[in-house]
């Protein structure tokens, strides 16, 4: 992986003119970067597809495939389009500059390139790339690969679409008491371990964690990408979560630390999924009755003294291998009619 944050960045110089290639490569070397050079657009694309580069310095006037075509190809390639390109050209005319920028070039430097300007622009581009890479890494950490991919491919826009999916809510029972009984550092560590385990269990079955708040989390199965058996996947995740908590508790007990217990509510049906918030700060989430119901079911686990509660729609979608127990109708807030609630049988933990 290219790494511009520490040490040398990997730069690719694309120019059909040998003097220009040598001079640019030399200038970049002197700045402490590792510069590679190719003489044609075709070679440039081959290099870019083969190796990771942090920045491309691209000439426009080249035989066979010119810089405009290279820019088009880079922009059309999901794997390449995040590599910043600075056009270095002695082409005259504002329209050429505009065309490069429209094709996704990050900057435009007129040849002969001024050394000071080159250093500043390269530095700025690498810094921007570093921030973007950081953002992508953050997005992967918090937004799951599915949402990250959805964002990268479809771009970001607020608003949602109607989907049929399954929503899960989970939280730690008696978390406040637990948090009060131990130093905050230990609580943070416990939460981190807890989230790591829960993320694994959820993503292992194709779900995404859309919210975390304190000791609680919300997960979606079936959006943004459709999932064939979303109800089954959610219930199997829930069972994995319970199993992981049991293992975690065994470790906690061995270390003389407190055990945790969780409650999980799951509901399936129609909902609106999409990005909510503002253009500056938004989150991928689902909204609708189904979501509210899952939240109520999770809250009801304490009263029902069951670990996993599911609604009728989820139960109806379950195939064999999972035992459920009918708990009868439950009146939930916000619903005029009582809903049938089922507890998923959990092997004794």
């Amino acid at each position: 992986m290219p790494d511009s944050a520490h040490g040398a960045a990997r730069l690719l110089v694309v120019d059909d003119n040998k003097v220009n290639r040598l001079l640019l490569t030399r200038s970049l070397d002197l700045m402490g970067h590792r510069a590679f050079a190719v003489a044609s657009g075709r070679e440039a694309l081959e290099m870019l597809r083969g190796d990771g580069f942090d920045l491309v310095l691209l000439d426009i006037e080249m035989p066979e495939m010119d810089g405009f075509q290279v820019l088009e190809q880079i922009r059309g390639d999901v794997a390449l389009r995040d590599v910043p390109v600075i056009v270095t050209s002695s082409l005259e005319g504002l329209d050429n500059v505009v065309r490069c920028i429209e094709l996704g070039a990050e900057d435009y430097l007129t040849k002969p390139v001024n050394g000071v300007l080159l250093k500043a622009r390269v530095g700025a581009s690498l810094e921007k790339k570093r921030l973007r890479d950081q953002q992508k890494a953050l997005m992967r950490r918090f937004a799951t690969p599915e949402v990250a991919q959805d964002l990268q491919q479809g771009g970001f826009s607020l608003g949602g679409k109607r989907v049929r999916a399954t929503v899960m809510f989970s939280d730690i029972r008696g978390f406040t008491t637990l948090a009060e009984s131990q130093p905050p550092e230990e609580t943070i560590e416990l939460l981190n371990t807890y989230y790591t385990l829960m993320f694994d269990a959820i993503s292992g079955h194709g779900g995404i964690v859309s919210h975390m708040a304190g000791d609680g989390l919300m997960a979606i199965f079936g959006a943004p990408l459709p999932l064939p058996d979303h109800a089954g996947a959610a219930v199997r995740s829930a069972l994995d979560m319970i199993e992981m908590i049991a293992l975690f508790n065994a470790e906690q007990a061995a270390a003389g630390k407190a055990a945790i217990r969780i409650g999980i509510g799951i509901a399936s049906g129609d909902m609106v999924a999409g990005y909510t918030g503002t253009n500056d700060r938004a989150t991928y989430t689902c909204i609708g009755d189904t979501v509210n119901l899952a939240s109520r079911l999770e809250a009801h686990t304490k009263e029902a003294e069951r670990v996993i509660l599911i609604d009728e729609a989820t139960r109806a979608a379950l195939r064999d291998g999972i035992d459920v127990e009918a708990l009868g109708p439950l009146t939930v807030r916000g619903k005029t009619q009582a809903v049938d609630v089922f507890a998923v049988s959990v092997s004794e933990v």
């Binding site: 003119n17 040598l22 200038s27 080249m62 002695s90 002969p112």
Partner: protein
């Protein structure tokens, strides 16, 4: 208004930023590449290949300006932007002027690089 063959401030700045040894190599490269470019330009002109003509003139302009060969750069630029028609009208004179100026540049650059 006469311009020096090589604009010294430009050449000196190049030597300072890229290093005198490197610039010597760069000059050597240019002295190998440029005659080929002049040949290409002639050939493109003879073949009526406007695209290659423009691109080669463009490349020569770019390199000339890098070394501070501003007159040569200007002559190449005229060919790049003007195309082949004016050359034909002037019965090839602009190409000859370019070649003549290149000969001066080559001598001057070789001297500067050895200095």
């Amino acid at each position: 208004m006469t311009q020096p063959t090589i604009d010294l401030p430009t050449f000196d700045a190049l030597s300072t930023t890229a290093g005198a040894d490197f610039v010597r190599e760069l000059v050597d490269t240019f002295l190998v590449e440029a005659p080929a470019m002049l040949d290409d330009l002639r050939a493109a002109y003879a073949a009526g290949d406007a695209d290659t003509f423009r691109r080669t003139a463009h490349s020569l302009k770019s390199n000339s300006n890098t070394f501070g060969a501003l007159t040569l750069g200007k002559l190449a630029r005229d060919l790049e932007l003007g195309g082949m028609a004016p050359v034909r009208e002037a019965k090839g004179a602009p190409l000859e002027a370019l070649e003549f100026e290149y000969a001066r540049v080559a001598t001057a650059l070789a001297e500067l690089a050895r200095a």
